[in-house]
């Protein structure tokens, strides 16, 4: 059991990282970014290409990929400020569905069923915990995700830029009237999320390289984790992500192992409905 739970830290850390970005984007920009995993996945693919085609080392390739992730974020951010600055949350979210579908098409084209080998960035030694070897990389990932959550929350609460971002998330138009550069900040948040998503996805790259959609679908569990944080609390979202990863890892070898992908959602639905049991009405009054 403990061995499985610790093994779950690998996907758990990825979900946690993505979940923090989802909450950040929802809070700041009013969009549930269903394409986040795909963005990270597409950027991570460029690192594969750097290794394969240009013979770059793992480190430089990863750096290129992160930059690429930020660039994808910038492009999408510009798209959002150009056309959807005043759109509803639902409409923006629907746009990310279209983005997701588009990126999957591009990603499929790039990977094209071929197998790529990606040197493991986190191929460091394993740490022995309760008699189980845990790769140091996944420990770093989990800790990094939680630190990211705490760091972003502290940043938003204590810095001037954080205050500007919060103002923008509450009232974009009013924030604009207060000379806050809403467009620039929006694009910056998209770029940041793209970069973080790329790092998160690269952690699992060595194990999944032939098909693109699974990379894009990582976001689904991160969305579940973000939901556990009520799309508000990044720390709960990060912890939720880790727990979901562990849950999958526990279920995998069991008799319902073939339903591993489904189990977290059954749990998330039950938890959410319980938490929201008093939300009888759509509006407060």
């Amino acid at each position: 059991m403990i061995a499985e739970m610790l093994a779950g830290l690998v996907p758990g850390g990825v979900y946690a990282g993505l979940a923090v970005c989802i909450v950040l984007m929802y809070q700041m920009l009013g969009v549930v970014n269903l394409a986040l995993g795909a963005m990270g996945g597409l950027a991570a693919c460029t690192s594969l290409l750097c290794v394969q085609w240009f013979g770059l080392g793992a480190g430089p390739s990863a750096l290129v990929a992160v930059l690429c992730g930020a660039l994808i974020g910038v492009i999408l951010g510009l798209l959002m400020v150009r056309y959807f600055l005043e759109a509803s949350v639902e409409l923006r979210t629907t746009v990310t569905i279209a983005v997701l579908v588009g990126i999957i098409a591009v990603g499929d084209r790039i990977l094209n069923g071929a197998t790529y080998n990606f040197p493991n960035l986190f191929a460091g030694p394993s740490v022995e915990i309760f008699g189980t070897g845990v790769p140091i990389g996944s420990l770093i990932e989990v800790v990094a995700a939680v630190l990211l959550a705490i760091g972003v929350q502290v940043f938003l609460r204590t810095t001037y830029l954080g205050a500007q971002l919060r103002a923008m998330s509450e009232r974009p138009v009013t924030a604009g009237l207060l000379a806050i550069r809403v467009r620039t900040l929006t694009v910056a948040v998209w770029a940041f999320a793209g970069a973080i998503a790329t790092i998160a996805v690269m952690v699992v790259l060595p194990t999944s390289t032939t098909s693109f959609p699974p990379l894009a679908y990582l976001v689904v569990y991160a969305l579940g984790a973000a939901l556990l944080g009520l799309l508000r609390n990044m720390i709960v979202a990060a912890v939720g992500g880790v727990l979901i990863g562990m849950l999958q890892s526990i279920v995998q070898p069991s008799s319902i192992g073939r339903y591993t992908d489904a189990v977290p959602f059954v749990v998330i639905v039950l938890v959410m409905v319980w938490w929201r049991r008093r939300d009888v009405w759509s509006e407060a009054r």
């Binding site: 269903l34 056309y83 949350v89 279209a98 799309l231 409905v273």
Partner: protein
């Protein structure tokens, strides 16, 4: 959500022309294109199912096409593996089996909304896809092979006919449902769940019926795919496919049948063309993504919405000449109004229309209502006044069942209703809201029909529309002015034939003349419709004209009650409005001056009320 808006209907002739063209086209097409057309029909039906849940009921649920898997497995099992159920029947059985699954998928929607619901329903998509891939459910294995129906027709004409007749049937079903109470209740919850419940609509039932109908429709489409592809291929329910259908539905405006039709044709034809041109489907997907983003970037650019707008423009041009003038505003003379305190003289033994006793409501540490008691006799208009934050709307919420907890009792017509949920209370006590919560897509007739008590005739509804002074019965409510929409909100209360009606700030935002017109109509309600009326209002002129008695709330407590003129003359009432003793004294002086000059006292309260507004908490 603008992309999926809806309206009353399309002419039958237009639908018949489309049906004839599609069927006739089938005979002219090659076998390949007949097959493509049949798959398009299945996708169009998926569009219909999304149109019901998202387009009509306004729930951001992504899982409808995935529920089609239930239909696919059923058809594959019954018509393939078992082989003994002929195809149209297995489609129907699959659709029926999907209903409980749809209900289960809809349960989270009772508490989760908007993007939360989107994430959870995306989870449902993943769950179904996982089950499909696991291949353990009967019918989900590739071995369950269904022979494509031919019915002795050339090529794939049998499949083509099956697909498009299914579409016609299910589109007809959604059109009929749209006009039924179910369909009206879907539109109502999309607009406002509270307003829907206040009209007697069970929000739970409305949501679940939408999910059930959508599941039925989607499962039919899933079954059709099996009839075309031969087996229930999990890739048909891949999350990307499901999400693409959803985004397409938003693009095309699948809340209308023509949007769903466009979805099916576009999706099938574009992928077939790409295949014929030797291009891989991912290029088509990428093109679709660009198209979807372009369409979503323009408000109301969904295909079906644009079509409807053009049609509406043409028909309004034709109709304009016949448009009649709105009826003139009524005037109201206080002398002609009922003299205060005639009371329930006609039947002293009759219970009160509304009796609230010892009502106490706490919001955390704040006591919003403190031991409030008031009564509204039949045939009377009682006013409830007080500064902002005094607890007036909280009282309405508690009385009509919108608060989770309160202490005290509410009796309507002598019956205690505290245990009833809001939509059941609406059978005997109705309310309006301060904000406009009418349903913009409906006409006055449809809107009033939604709130009507069982057995209400069309004639009665027309009479109420006339009573509130609306002459424009064919226009959707969103193109009427605020005044008419407010009056129709009251009219919708009347169609429910309640014992008591609570009207929350009906004159807010109306001009002086319009307020008078409103008063002239409101004052007739108790006698004409046999009920008691509680009016919350800040406009003291209106209160003075309208109410036989008055209850004043301040900080959640009743500080005065009794005949209107008496209450308005009291110094503490003026003080509550002004919030400051000095101001109260000024008001008293004003009253004294006006009394000596022979005018009514309450006018002073009216003039000083505005100065007192900042007192509101």
């Amino acid at each position: 959500m603008s992309g999926l808006k809806r309206a009353s209907g399309t002419p039958l002739s237009a639908m018949l022309v489309v049906a004839v063209v599609i069927i006739a086209a089938g005979f002219a097409l090659s076998s390949y294109w007949q097959y493509v057309g049949a798959i398009g029909a299945a996708e169009a039906i998926f569009g219909l199912s999304i149109g019901v849940v998202y387009g009509q009921a306004g729930m951001l649920s992504l899982c409808q096409p995935a529920i089609g898997a239930i239909g696919a497995w059923t058809v594959a099992y019954l018509s393939g593996e078992m082989g003994w159920v002929p195809l149209p029947w297995s489609l129907f059985i699959g659709a029926i089996i999907a209903v409980p699954i749809g209900l289960a998928a809809g349960m989270p929607a009772l508490r989760l909304r908007r993007v939360n619901l989107a994430i959870v329903t995306l989870g449902v998509v993943i769950v179904i896809y996982t089950v499909a891939q696991a291949g353990q459910v009967a019918g989900s294995q590739e071995s369950a092979y269904v022979k494509t129906p031919t019915w002795n027709l050339a090529g794939y004409m049998g499949l083509y006919l099956l697909g498009w007749l299914s579409f016609a049937l299910l589109a007809g079903l959604t059109i009929v449902l749209r006009r039924s109470r179910w369909g009206l209740s879907w539109l109502a919850i999309a607009r406002s769940e509270r307003a829907a419940a206040a009209m007697g609509v069970s929000v739970t039932k409305a949501k679940l019926t939408a999910f059930a109908v959508a599941a039925f429709v989607a499962a039919w489409a899933g079954g059709l795919l099996v009839a075309g592809f031969g087996s229930a291929d999990p890739s048909n329910f891949d999350p990307v496919v499901v999400l693409t259908l959803f985004a397409l539905a938003v693009m095309m405006g699948a809340g209308y049948w023509e949007g769903a039709l466009a979805l099916g044709l576009f999706s099938a034809i574009s992928s077939a063309l790409l295949e014929q041109w030797g291009l891989t489907p991912d290029l088509g997907t990428a093109l679709f993504a660009i198209g979807a983003i372009t369409v979503l970037g323009k408000p109301d650019a969904a295909f079906s919405v644009m079509i409807r707008r053009q049609v509406a423009k043409l028909s309004s041009r034709r109709r304009r000449a016949a448009d009649d003038e709105p009826p003139a505003l009524r005037t109201f003379s206080p002398l002609a109004a009922k003299v205060p305190a005639t009371g329930p003289a006609d039947d002293p033994g009759r219970p009160l229309a509304l009796a609230i006793s010892n009502l106490t409501v706490n919001f955390g540490a704040v006591r919003a209502l403190d031991d409030v008691s008031l009564t509204v006799p039949y045939g009377e208009v009682v006013g409830l006044v007080g500064p902002n934050g005094a607890g007036k709307s909280t009282l309405v919420d508690a009385t009509t069942g919108f608060l989770a907890a309160y202490s005290g009792t509410v009796q309507v017509d002598g019956a205690q209703i505290d245990a009833l949920p809001a939509y059941k209370r609406a059978r005997i006590v109705r309310r309006t809201f301060q904000q406009d919560r009418t349903i913009g897509e409906l006409t006055a007739e449809g809107y009033l029909r939604l709130g009507a008590a069982p057995g209400t005739t069309a004639k009665q509804i027309r009479e109420i529309i006339e009573f509130v002074g609306c002459s424009n019965t064919a226009t959707p409510l969103h193109s009427l002015d605020v005044r008419l929409r407010r009056l129709l909100m009251i009219g919708a209360c009347l169609t429910g034939r309640p014992k008591a009606i609570l009207v929350d700030e009906p004159a807010a935002g109306l001009s002086a003349e319009e307020s008078i017109d409103l008063a002239a109509r409101l004052v007739e309600i108790p006698e004409r419709f046999g009920c008691g009326l509680l009016v919350i209002e800040h406009d003291m002129e209106l209160v003075r004209l309208l109410c036989t008695s008055l209850v004043v709330l301040d900080f959640g407590k009743v500080i005065a009650s009794g005949p209107t003129a008496e209450v308005l003359a009291r110094a503490d009432v003026a003080a509550a409005y002004l919030g400051d003793d000095v101001a109260a004294e000024t008001a008293l002086q004003e009253i004294a001056v006006e009394e000596t000059s022979g005018r009514n006292a309450p006018a002073a309260v009216t003039s000083s009320q505005k100065a007192g507004e900042p007192h509101g908490r």
